[in-house]
Amino acid sequence: MKANKKPFNIWNTSTLLILCIFLLFIAFPLFLVLKKSVIDPGTGQFTFEYLSKFFERKFYWITILNSFKVTVAATLLSMVIGLPLAYMMRKVKIKGSKVIEILVIISYISPPFIGAYAWIQLLGRRGVVTEFVNNLFGTQFDGIYGFAGIVLVLSLQSFPLIYLYISGALKNLDNSLNEAAESLGYSNIQRMFKIIIPLIIPTMLASALLVFMRVIADFGTPMLIGEGYRTIPVLIYTQFMSEVGGNDGFAAALCMIFIVVTLVLFLVQRIVASRFSYSMSALKPMSVEKVKGYKNILSHAFVYFVVLLAILPQLVVTFTSFLETKGGQVYTGNFSFDNYKNILFMKNTAVIWNTYKMGIIAIIIIVVLGVLISYLTVRKKNAITNILDTVSMFPFIIPGSVLGISFIFAFSDKPFVLSGTVLIMVMSFVIRRMPYTIRSSTAIIGQISPSLEEAAISLGASETKTFRKVVVPMMMPGVMAGAIMSWITVISELSSSIILYTSGTQTLTVSIYTEVIRGNYGNASAYSAILTVTSIISLLLFFKLTGKREVSV
C-alpha cells in the first residue's frame, strides 16, 4: 500500500500513544525492579548483595529447586493424563463426549487455587475423604499437603490444556496419512509411533512448555496447599509482604531471578516452536469408531474418571457453598443459604461488583489496544510498530507476582501515585493479558485478505473509514470471542491482585483467598461458586458466539 507521507497521521499518533502506555506500565516498572535489585538505596552504589543473598542460604535457593520439582512433576503428570484422553476422545466413541469436552474446558478455565482449596476440603487434614479413610482403616493420614498436594492440584488443572492442544492437532491430522501408512503395511501400533506421535510432537512440546510456564508462575496453589513447601512465587510474596516500607532490594532481586527463569523458558519455547512445526490441515480427519469389549469399557472408565477428578473442585465448592456452618468454619451437615446471605448481605458486596467493574473496564481497554496494536504491527509495519510488537510480548515472561511488585515499585511514589486505585488493578489485568490478546488479534487480521481493504479504498473510502467499516467489523466476532476468554482469565486473576489490592479494590479471588486463610470455608465456597458460575456463563456465551465447542488458549 502506498506509504502515507504525513508524519503525524492517525496511525503514527496512536502508535506513539500506545508506546507511551507500554513504556509507563511495562518498561518503567521492569526497569525499577532491575534497578532496585542491583543498587543499594543507601549509597546509590552497584551491589550484588541482594542477588547473592538468595544463593547463599538454602532457605532461599531451595525454592527454585522446589519450583522446578513441582513444575516438572505436574507437567509430566498432566501429559500422562492429557495425551491418552485426547487420543481416546478422537478415536473411540465415548458416550456423552460433548458434555465431557465442556467439562474439561470448565475445569481448564477455573482458577487453580479453587482447586487447591477444594482438594483441601477433600484430602486435607480434616477433609471428608481423609476422615473417612482414617475412620475406616484406623490410619493416621494427615492430609495431602506440600509437594504431593501441589502436584495433584496443578496437574489436574493443567491436563485440560494438553488435552485441548493435542485434540486440536489430532483433528488436523489427515487420516489419509494414516491410511497411506496402513496400505504400506504398517500395523496399528506402528502407525501410532511412526505417524501420529511424530506429527503431534511439536504440539506436545508446545503445550508442555505452556503448562510449564503456567505452573511455575502459579502462586495461589502452593500458597494454600503447600504449607512448608515453598516455591519461588510464594517466597517472593512472603518476602515482599514482610518488607513493605523497608528495603525492597531483596524482593526485587528475587523478581529478577524469577524473570530470568521464565525468560529462559520462553526462549526455549520459541526455539522449539520454530524448530518443530508442520503445517497440517486435514481434508479427512480421523474418525471416531465404536469399539467393543474390554477396550470400550476401559476407555470409558478412564475418560469418566479423569473428567470427574477434573471437575470435582467445582462440584465441591458449589456443594459446600450450600452447607450450613458453625461460626463460618465447621460444617453442621445441614443445607442452608447462610453462606450466600453472609457474603451478599452481611459483608461488603463491593468485592463482587469490583470484580465485574474492573474486569469490564480492563476488557474494553484490552480489546481496543489489542485490535489497534495488531492492526498497526501487521498492516502499518515500521520501526516503531516493531518496537511495539516486541514490548507487548514482555508480559509473557513477567509472572503475576513480579508484575504486582513492579507496579508497587513504580506507582507508589511521585510522579505516578496510583497505588490503591482502580486504574492500577485494571492496568495489571490489561498488561498481563496483552500478549495473548495481541497474538489472537494478529491471527485474526492475518486471515483478512488485504484486498478487502484495498477494495474499500478503491471505492473511495479513507483509510480510517476502511478501518472502521471493514477491518473492525470483520475482526469483531473473533475479537469478542477472545475478549470473553480474557474476561474469564481476568476475573480469576490472583497473583498480582493479591499484591495490588486495597480494601476499595478487593476482588472475588482475593476474597476467596483471604477467607480460606482465615478458615471461613463457608464464605470462601460461596464466593468461589459465584466466580465459577460467572465463568461458566461466560463460557457458554463464548460457545454461542463462536458457534463452536472449542476454546483457543
Binding site: S451, A455, L459, P473
Partner: protein
C-alpha cells in the same frame, strides 16, 4: 465519457530490484485492454501502479491526460475487481454494492436506482439481500464486478478475475464481463496469464515478459503476426524450425530442407540472403500431401479430437512438429506412416536468428516498433 490511460516510461522498484523499467503503453478510451504474460512478469505490479496501491518510482501515469502519480487511491475513481473477489463478508450483496456509493453523497433514490440497475446488468437481482457466503463463485464474481462499476469509475481494473472459477464458468463469466464492459463502455485494464482468455475478451493485448512489453496489438494481429519468438510461442502453439534465406531472381525464398523451399513475398529488406532464420509454423499452417513435396517425416502419434486431428510428426532433420488437419480431410493417417509437409507461405512467420524479432514486413496490422 470514457477516458484514455497513458503509461509513460514508468519504473517500479521493490527495494533494490527493478521489476518494471521504463514501460510505456497507451490505452484508448472505452477499450478492453489486456496485460498478458507468464507468472511473475509484472502484470499485477503494473495494474496496482495504475490504481495507486503501488507507488510509481519513475515516469508517469496519466488518465484523461491528467497525471495521477500523487493522487491517493481513494480519490482516483477507479474500480477494481480482485482475484479473490474481496467481497466484504460481513455485508449483504446490496451493502457491498452500496459501499462505494455511500461515500458519494447521493440521494437515497438515486442510490437505490443505481444499485437496482447494476444488479440487473450483472444478473444478480435475486441475491440482493443474501450474505456473500451463500453465493457461488460466479455470483460472487458478479457482485465484485457490480460493486466496482456501480460507482461509475473512470477506469475498471481486473486482476485475473476468473482464475478462481472452473473452466466452464470461466468461459461464461468472460463473456459476461465482455458484454457488460461493452454495455457500460468503460476503459478497462484486464490482467490474465491465460492466452485463450486474453484472445477471447480483449480489444487489444499487451504481451509482457520480465517486466518488458513484447508486443501490443489486437488479438488477431498478435496471433497471426507475433513480433518475436516469445510471443509466437506464448500465444497458441508454434513449431519453430531453422531455415536458410535465399534470393533467386530478386525473389526471397526460405529453404526448409535440402529439397524444399517456399517463396516469401512479405519479408523485410533487412532479411539478408544466406543467413539462418527461424521459421514459426502453427499446426494448422502445415499441409499434409502425398505428392512427396515438402518436409519428409514420420507420424509418431495422432490424436483424433472430432473437430480436427492432431498429428505429431518427426521430421527427417530430427525436429518433432505438431500438425492439425481438419476432420473433413480424407482418412486418418496411421502411426508410422511417412508423410510430406508443406507450409502456407502467407501465414507462417519468420524471425531473425540473432535477436528473434520478426522479419515479416509491417502490414499495417502490426503496431510494435
Amino acid at each position: 465519457m470514457s477516458v484514455s490511460i497513458i503509461v509513460d516510461n514508468v519504473v517500479k522498484k521493490f527495494e533494490d530490484t527493478t521489476v518494471i523499467d521504463k514501460l510505456s503503453l497507451q490505452i484508448k478510451p472505452g477499450e478492453l485492454f489486456t496485460l498478458l504474460g507468464p507468472s511473475g512478469c509484472g502484470k499485477t505490479t503494473l495494474l496496482r501502479m495504475i490504481i495507486g496501491f503501488n507507488s510509481i518510482d519513475g515516469g508517469s501515469i496519466r488518465i484523461a491526460d491528467k497525471e495521477v502519480n500523487h493522487i491517493p487511491v481513494s480519490k482516483r475513481n477507479m474500480g477494481m475487481v480482485f482475484q479473490n473477489y474481496a467481497i466484504f463478508p460481513h455485508m449483504s450483496v446490496k451493502d457491498n454494492i452500496a459501499f462505494g456509493l455511500k461515500n458519494r453523497k447521493l440521494g437515497k433514490e438515486e442510490m437505490e436506482k443505481r444499485i437496482n440497475d447494476i444488479l440487473r446488468v450483472v444478473h444478480i437481482e435475486k441475491y440482493k439481500d443474501r450474505m456473500p457466503d451463500k453465493l457461488s463463485g460466479g455470483q460472487q464474481q458478479r457482485v465484485a464486478l457490480a460493486r466496482a462499476i456501480v460507482i461509475h469509475p473512470e477506469v475498471l481494473l481486473m486482476d485475473e478475475p476468473l482464475s478462481n472459477l472452473d473452466a466452464k464458468l470461466r468461459v461464461e463469466m468472460r463473456n459476461a464481463i465482455r458484454s457488460i464492459q461493452q454495455q457500460v463502455g468503460i476503459t478497462t485494464v484486464y490482467v490474465t496469464h491465460d492466452q485463450e482468455e486474453a484472445l477471447a475478451i480483449s480489444d487489444r493485448i499487451a504481451v509482457m515478459n520480465g517486466g518488458v512489453i513484447q508486443q501490443i496489438g489486437t488479438p488477431k494481429s498478435i496471433y497471426e503476426r507475433p513480433a518475436n519468438i516469445f510471443v509466437s510461442k506464448f500465444i497458441g502453439t508454434s513449431n519453430v524450425m531453422k531455415a536458410t534465406l535465399k534470393v533467386e531472381n530478386g525473389e526471397k525464398y526460405i529453404q526448409l530442407s535440402d529439397t524444399y523451399q517456399e517463396k516469401m513475398a512479405n519479408l523485410k529488406d533487412q532479411a539478408k540472403p544466406g543467413g539462418t532464420v527461424l521459421v514459426s509454423v502453427r499446426p494448422q499452417e502445415f499441409m499434409i500431401n502425398e505428392e512427396k513435396v515438402g518436409l519428409k517425416g514420420k507420424v509418431i502419434r495422432s490424436m483424433f479430437l472430432g473437430i480436427n486431428t492432431h498429428y505429431f510428426i518427426e521430421l527427417e532433420q530430427g525436429e518433432e512438429v505438431e500438425v492439425i488437419q481438419d476432420a473433413d480431410a480424407v482418412e486418418l493417417i496411421p502411426e508410422g506412416a511417412t508423410v510430406y509437409l508443406k507450409v502456407k507461405p502467407t501465414k507462417i512467420n519468420v524471425f531473425s536468428s540473432e535477436d528473434e524479432t520478426t522479419l515479416i514486413k509491417v502490414g499495417g496490422i502490426n503496431e510494435s516498433k
